[in-house]
């Protein structure tokens, strides 16, 4: 069994499970060579894609999954960031959620509803869409709590 991981996340795989890491901007799955994945994690990197590339990525991810395989997507909460801005409470985390970093600039920001709509358009069935906190560690070792949307969707053709 294989898992594909996009984004800089820690993952502990069970014995016999192969973990492959990819850059979201360069994902070229080939079923004949790579086989299919039973789970794909996309953690805090979807915003790095230009808007016009998002559906293409999700379609590739859909086709790279086994039937009944799952995609787990975590994106910074656009609603939270917007609320912080509108109520004059924006802090460095808010700006990170909207713009990313110099190394990984964000090109889009997603609400929960937008993310669900995109997954549905890519023919996934969304089975969970909740709020979560992603623990980030900066290069200085500082721990940050990032509010994210956490979506779990299934390929069941």
């Amino acid at each position: 069994m294989k898992i594909a991981v996009f984004g800089n996340m820690d993952i502990e795989a069970d014995a016999g499970v192969e973990v492959r890491r990819f850059e979201i901007t360069s994902f070229y799955p080939n079923e004949k060579i790579d086989g299919l994945y039973y789970r794909i994690f996309v953690s805090n990197c979807m915003p790095e894609l230009p808007r016009e590339a998002v559906m293409d990525f999700l379609k590739k991810a859909h086709d790279a999954l086994e039937v009944n395989g799952e995609i787990i997507v975590q994106v910074p909460m656009a609603e939270f960031a917007a609320k912080q801005l509108f109520t004059n409470k924006a802090d460095p985390i808010t700006y990170y959620m909207l713009y990313g970093t110099d190394e990984h600039p964000f090109r889009a920001c997603y609400t929960m509803l937008q993310m669900r709509t995109l997954l549905a358009r890519a023919k996934f069935n969304v089975k969970e869409a909740t709020e979560a906190i992603l623990k980030l560690t900066t290069t200085d070792g500082e721990e940050l709590n990032l509010p994210v949307h956490n979506l779990v969707a299934v390929r069941n053709d």
Binding site: E79, T87, T111, L113, T117, N125, A129, T130
Partner: protein, 290 residues
């Protein structure tokens, strides 16, 4: 009940259970009919039986069964049990519950089915401030329910209790509940459902009046007699609570918690319709954004 048709069926078979009052608004009728038409056109499900009972005014006056061609003056819990009895003796895998004041959107049933959960509800909103969806989380410190509030649009989340105004339940949830519980008769004749794993020892015949000792309530119960033809009480109005909390707690005992899909949004008709706009407007006001 399995049938020969089951093997040929390619679409999920869904019964529809509606709790009705005497009158429904014309908007409710048109919205519900459009919803049923949309399901028929989409072809994702097969609608089985329409199981209607009366009535839906919360909650002590959901009284008159109309769908079974007879009128009764019973409470919501009894009527829901009657619908459930019919559903469980039929062929459908799913039952979609509505009230006669909740109008689900187009393709509501398909939307809920696609979530992949056995017990999942759409959102309909309280008809008074703060207009929260009728879905709740149980507070761990006191066991009381707090409404779901201030969630992101599009959330699909596990909760502890939901209303039955737009709720899809798989047959297996009822079967698991029935198999995992024992029904007793309380000292006042009411039925008491207890998870099997919480029952030890024997049930004695020595009746005593209920009493409280050291903060614990004691009451004599007896086994439900074999000639007692009351249905398994999947729904009970008790302690001033609605019957849906009761069902959700039974389901939780067998490891099934309801999900709330906030993309399936109903209109809740009272004298004036309550919509998601009421909820959003109140929320924006409260958070200082309007």
């Amino acid at each position: 009940m399995a049938s020969e048709l089951d093997s040929k069926r390619t679409r999920p078979l869904v019964d529809i259970g509606v709790a009705c009052n005497t009158n429904q608004t014309f908007q409710w009728w048109s919205t519900v009919m459009l919803m049923l038409l949309s399901e028929e056109k989409s072809g994702n499900i097969e609608i089985g039986q329409l199981r209607t009972v009366g009535s839906a005014v919360p909650d002590h006056n959901k009284n008159n069964i109309i769908g079974d061609s007879k009128r009764r003056t019973r409470l919501t819990d009894y009527n829901r049990q009657e619908v459930t009895k019919g559903f469980l003796s039929g062929e459908a895998e799913w039952i979609f519950w509505m009230d006669d004041d909740t109008a689900p959107p187009l393709n509501a049933i398909t939307g809920l089915l696609h979530s992949g959960h056995d017990f999942v509800a759409g959102a309909y909103f309280m008809t008074a401030e703060p207009y929260h969806p009728i879905a709740y989380r149980k507070m761990p410190d006191n066991g009381l329910y707090a409404p779901i509030y201030n969630y992101p649009d599009g959330a699909l989340m596990q909760v502890d209790s939901v209303g039955f105004g737009c709720t899809l339940v798989h047959r297996s949830v009822y079967e698991k509940i029935r198999d995992a519980h024992t029904v007793f008769e309380r000292h006042n004749g009411a039925l008491l459902v207890v998870p099997n794993d919480m029952v030890t020892g024997n049930v004695g015949d020595d009746y005593f009046e209920p009493y409280v000792k050291d903060g614990v309530y004691y009451e004599h119960i007896k086994a439900k007699s074999e000639d007692d033809d009351r249905q398994f009480p999947f729904y009970q109005l008790e302690h001033g609570r609605t019957e849906d909390h009761y069902f959700c707690e039974l389901a939780a005992h067998v490891g099934v918690k309801p999900w709330l899909d906030t993309t399936v949004v109903c209109t809740h008709y009272k004298t004036m319709p309550t919509t998601k706009d009421n909820y959003t407007e109140f929320l924006l006001k409260e958070t200082g954004l309007a």
